[in-house]
Each structure stands twice: as C-alpha cells, then as structure tokens.
C-alpha cells in the first residue's frame, strides 16, 4: 500500500478524517515554506499539498494569488518545487503537488513524473486537467508510480463523476463551493450529497476542499468525508504569524476531525 493510502487507512481506523494542508512552494520563501510545513505537521497535518506557483491562477482567490505572486517574485522555479517536495516528504508525510497544467506540460510529463517520484512525492493534483486530456499523464504517472488526483464539482453530472473516479488513483477531490479558493463563511449543503455520489463510483478516499477554513467546517465535513483540505486559511495564518500561527491553526483544525 502506498504511504498516502496508509495514512487514509490509519485515520479511518482512528475514526476521523485526515487533515490535508495546502501551501505554495516558495511562500513566504523557499526555506520559509518548509519551516511552516514542519510546524503544520507538528500541529497535526496528515497530508501535505505543495502548490506549484503559476502566473495565471484562474482557480484561486485573492489570498492564494497574493501568496503565489510573492513566491514567483521571490524566484521560485520548477526546481524549487521539486526540492520542496523532497524536504517535506523526508518529514514522513505523504506529499502531493497541486499544479495548473502548463508548468507540468512545460517540464515534460515523463521528466516531471520521474523527478517527482525520485523526490519522494506521493501524488499530483491537476485541477485544470480534465480526464479527456489526460491520456499521456495517465501513462506517465502509471509508469513512475505517482498517484493522480482529479476533481469533482457540485456541477458534475453522474457521468462525469464516474469518468473522474475512473482515472483517479490517490483520492477524489470534491470542491466544496462553486468558485475560486479562499475562506468562506458558509459552504454548500450539497457537498455531502456530492461525496455520497462519488462513493457510488469508487472505493477511493474522498477529500473535501475549497473554501474550508474553520474547525467547525472541518468537523462537519469529517462526518462524511475521508479528508478535509485547507489552503487559504494557512496562507493567511502564516502571513499574520509565521510557523507558530500555522501550527496553532493545524492544532485547532485537528480538534474538529473526529467523527
């Protein structure tokens, strides 16, 4: 079993959801990101998503846009991302990269899968790669033992959910809101139904993200999903209070994961 699936098996046996945290590589700096993630893991984060900073983040709201911009201005390159994966996976947590498609295509699918795997990475989340365009990516990730994570949305038809589930290997990422990333006061009631629908098509873990920021929201989601994904809230915490604030947020969110 892969480390990623081991963690989901463990959190399940502990009768709780896994806490999945997102942070862009190079934010606030290359070393700073690693320090923050170390603090987050110490605070209870189970799985880490490292964002591949991209110039045109059409799925991100102002918080992550700003963080990514700081990262790129600070000189983040593809190599920074791979190196961050290496340092984070050495902490013993399953480490994924979340990337818009063009940086991976530019790197070369085979090369990226090779280098990512060599760095100890577990899987790659590709939010703007549709299953229809993914043939070469499926081949490259299969070949190099890299898990694939695709997304489902509240607007996805059953047919699309089944298609997404059939090409996913890591976990299915269910978007909790129709919209860009960023903390939301309230999430859609429909998300529980979406998770239930996904389960009709796959036994893979289902994690819920987009807009999730508070322990209360985490608690609600933990009742029906296998993972809770939090991004913007960590970025904001780090902007305000660095690694200690990131650790405190991870601890607070962890409190909400029990079923």
């Amino acid at each position: 079993m892969s480390l990623l699936h081991e963690v989901f098996a463990r959190t399940k046996s502990e009768n709780r959801a896994a806490l999945i945290a997102y942070l862009p590589a190079g934010y606030p700096t290359a070393d700073g990101a690693v320090e923050c993630i170390e603090a987050m893991v110490a605070g209870g984060v189970d799985i880490v998503e490292i964002g591949f900073p991209y110039s045109d983040p059409v799925m991100d709201g102002p918080t992550i846009q700003e963080a990514v911009n700081i990262s790129l201005v600070g000189g983040t390159k593809s190599a920074t991302v791979i190196n961050t994966v290496k340092r984070v996976s050495q902490m013993g947590v399953p480490t994924l990269v979340m990337s818009y498609w063009n940086p991976i295509e530019r790197y070369g699918l085979e090369s990226f899968a090779t280098d990512f795997h060599a760095a100890g990475g577990a899987g790659v989340i590709t939010p703007d790669l549709t299953p229809e365009e993914a043939d070469d990516w499926i081949a490259a990730t299969d070949h190099h033992d890299v898990e694939r994570v695709f997304l489902v949305a509240l607007s996805s038809s059953d047919e699309r959910i089944s298609k997404v589930a059939s090409v996913t290997t890591g976990f299915v990422y269910a978007g909790a809101v129709m919209g860009v990333t960023g903390a939301r006061a309230s999430l859609s009631d429909a998300i529980e139904g979406l998770v239930a629908k996904v389960r009709r098509y796959t036994d893979l873990p289902v994690a819920v993200g987009l807009g999730v920021s508070t322990p209360e929201q985490a608690h609600e989601i933990a009742q029906y999903a296998d993972g809770v994904i939090v991004g913007s809230a960590f970025v904001t915490a780090i902007a305000n209070g660095g690694p200690p604030a990131a650790k405190a947020l991870a601890q607070a969110l962890s409190q909400g994961l029990a079923r």
Binding site: Y54, D56, V58, N102, E132, V152, A153, L154, M178, G179
Partner: protein, 402 residues
C-alpha cells in the same frame, strides 16, 4: 493534410490537430457542455438562424462593403489592396458578429447575466451593446492598463449600462482580464454566460466564435467573385486571439491558391522579447483552457506580452491558427509597433479611413506583401475596426497634441 480534413476541424472534443481541447476546472465542464449543446442545436434551428440574420442585416448593417483602397495600393508595390469594411459595422468592429450569436444563445440557455473580457474595449462595447439590446445584465473585465489607453471605450460601455471592472492583477491587460472573467464564471455559472471575445479558450469557444465570424469571409468571397471575377491572391488580417482573421480566412481555406496571411503584434520586435507574436515567437503550451502557441518561460510561466495595440496584446492565440500554421495552410508574420503606426497614418492620409491600431498591423502586412508580389496581386485586408478609440494613443505617438 487534405483540405477536407481541415474543414472538419475541430474533432468532437474541440481539437484542431494537437491544439485546442479543454483544460478547465471540473466546475466549468457542465457549463461548457451546456453551451456546446445549445450552440449545436441553434446552428440547425431555422428560427435561430433567421433571428441572427435579421440582426446582422438590420442592426449591424451587413453585408459590409469592400473598398478598393486605390491610393494606399500605390504604396503597396502597386498591388490592389481591398478592404473588407468591418469597421463600418455597428459598434465599429467585427466583434459585433460574435456577440449577436452568443447573445441569442444566452437567451436560449435561460441565463440573465453575461460577463466578458476586453482588451481594446471593442469586444466589451459589443457585449455591452448586445446586452442592452437583449436586456441582459453585463459585467466587463478590463485590465487597468487598458482602461487607460482605451478610455473612450470605457465610457461607451458605461453609457450602454455595463459595469466595467478594472483588473489590477498580473500585467493588468487582456490576459488578466480573462483570468478574472474565468474566476467570475466559475462562481456564477448558474445564471451567467461568459461571452468570450475571440477564437481562444476551451471548446466550444474557438469553433463557435469562428462560426459566428465566418460571415466575413463568406461575404467577401462572394463579393470578390461578383465584382472582380476572381478570388484574391492574399487574404490578410491581424491576429490577437484571432477572431477577425479566422472570420475572413474560413471561406477561403478550401481555395488552396489563396494565401492566408496572419499578422501578429511585434511590439518592439520579436528579437527584443517585448512582443505579442505567439506563433512567430512562442512555444506550444496551455493557457486559458486550450493548447496553442503561447509566450512562456522555461518553467511554463506566462511571459507578459507587449504591443501598442491593446486588442493584440495577448500571450496566446486561438488553437485553429496554431493548427493552420503547423500544417502550412496559413502564414504568420510579425509587425512591430513602428510598422503598424506607419501603416495607420498612411491609411488615414491616403483613404480617409482611420483604422484601429489592431487593423493597422494587417495594413502593414499588406504593404509588405504587396511589394513582394507586385502590381498584379490582389490583397484582401480585413479592416477589422475603426480607430476612434485610438485617437489619443495615435496623437501621442505622432506628437500631435497641442
């Protein structure tokens, strides 16, 4: 590649060869499928086609004439330069062709709000216009930089009842306006249609926008045969996203003896890196939902484009152009700011027509290829828009302010 194969492009998933497709968040897939379905049904529905035709004739003022630019021709090596006068359309550019089609589709899909991106403001004005005509709420995203260089069009959009939102992220130009429009669309897709203004973006936009613009070439081809008894040797158009160019090219694609020439914005010159010539100077990549030629660095980050023309200042290009370039059916060249502004002034002074600066790039291309081909050649140029919006920029460029 046979002409027949070209003609059935794109495939069922919106691919033009290896270009095009859909690279979008899953949240948008349902809306793209809905749009695709509405578009295909409308295009075979006689009542939709009749409604569109009525607006094209009685609102836009189609067909647009072809003007023989006699004095300008003398400067183009004596070749005959003909102008397809899309600048005479209501709202002053070709952009109205596309928004009338998409506006009617918006009604058919039962949506009440439209959003659009705009660079030069011409697509924004066209979208605001059709929204007023059809009673739709309209929000236009425009890079802050462009709101300054196209201030006249900002005022026009506001007069037409649209909300204009200046975009301050990234390069503050067209690319960032598209990013912001896509963010809006994902959040409001239930009641909102994204009226994309060019032949870029995810399927079905490149195909749909092409089909709403192909009337330019369909009319031109007929007008050529009727008035001149022959087809042109060259059809030339400027290429930003590529809608006016695809619009005039499409009818001529099967006529293999007709050269198709796309003129990209060269800014300070392709060799300086400060340009917007994606086919001439870019590489294959994915931006804004489609695979095409884009301007990017070694890490796949988009490089900001540069052009004096807001409407051409875009670091990608429609996937069908990428494909036509790859198979050699169309040829693409780069025109610098200086060359374009030179052609701009020449058309003003020889023909009494003030063109859009975008269009001036096509005119510069005509001057060049006219000199190459000599006086027997006929060059049909898509005069995609009028230059009222550019008067301020031109006055500054030529140092004409009092």
């Amino acid at each position: 590649m046979s002409v027949d194969e070209v003609l059935v492009m794109p495939d069922l998933r919106g691919h033009f060869g290896k270009f095009g497709g859909r690279f979008v968040p899953e949240a948008l897939m349902a809306a793209l499928d809905e749009l695709d379905d509405a578009f295909r049904k409308a295009m075979v529905d006689p009542s939709f086609l009749a409604q569109l035709h009525d607006l094209q004739v009685n609102y836009t003022g189609r067909p647009s004439p072809i003007t023989h630019a006699k004095r300008f021709s003398e400067l183009a090596g004596g070749a005959t330069v003909l102008l397809k006068r899309e600048d005479l359309n209501h709202t002053g550019s070709h952009k109205i062709n596309n928004v009338l089609g998409q506006g009617l589709l918006t009604l058919r899909m039962g949506k009440t709000r439209v959003i659009a991106e705009t660079g030069a403001g011409q697509h924004g004005v066209a979208t605001a216009t059709v929204s007023a005509l059809l009673g739709l709420e309209c929000v236009v995203y425009m890079g802050e930089e462009d709101t300054k260089r196209q201030a006249l069009n900002v005022a026009r959009m506001k007069l037409l009842g649209a909300t204009v939102i200046p975009v301050t992220s990234g390069s503050k130009t067209l690319k960032d306006a598209i990013n912001e429009a896509m963010r809006d669309w994902v959040a409001n897709v239930e009641d909102t249609h994204y009226m994309l203004g060019t032949v870029a973006g995810p399927a079905p936009f490149p195909e749909m926008v092409r089909d709403f613009h192909r009337i330019i070439g369909d009319e031109s081809r007929e007008q050529m045969l009727e008035r001149f008894g022959r087809l042109p040797d060259v059809v030339a158009a400027c290429v930003g996203g590529g809608s006016n160019a695809i619009g005039i090219f499409t009818a001529f694609i099967p006529d293999s003896e007709v050269r198709l020439l796309g003129l990209e914005a060269g800014g300070d010159g392709v060799e300086t890196g400060r340009h917007a010539s994606t086919i001439v100077g870019g590489a294959v990549g994915v931006l804004h939902g489609a695979r095409s030629y884009i301007m990017q660095d070694d890490d796949g980050q988009t490089i900001e484009s540069h052009s004096i023309s807001a409407g051409l200042d875009y670091p990608s290009v429609g996937p069908e152009h990428a494909y036509l370039a790859d198979i050699g059916r169309a040829e693409y060249r780069s025109v610098t700011d200086v060359q374009a502004m030179n052609a701009f002034k020449l058309l003003c002074e020889t023909e009494g027509i003030i063109p859009a600066i975008e269009t001036a790039h096509a005119l510069a291309g005509a001057l060049e290829i006219g000199k190459e081909l000599g006086k027997d050649a006929i060059i049909l140029v898509n005069c995609s828009g009028r230059g009222d919006k550019d008067v301020e920029t031109a006055a500054k460029w030529f140092d004409m302010n009092p």
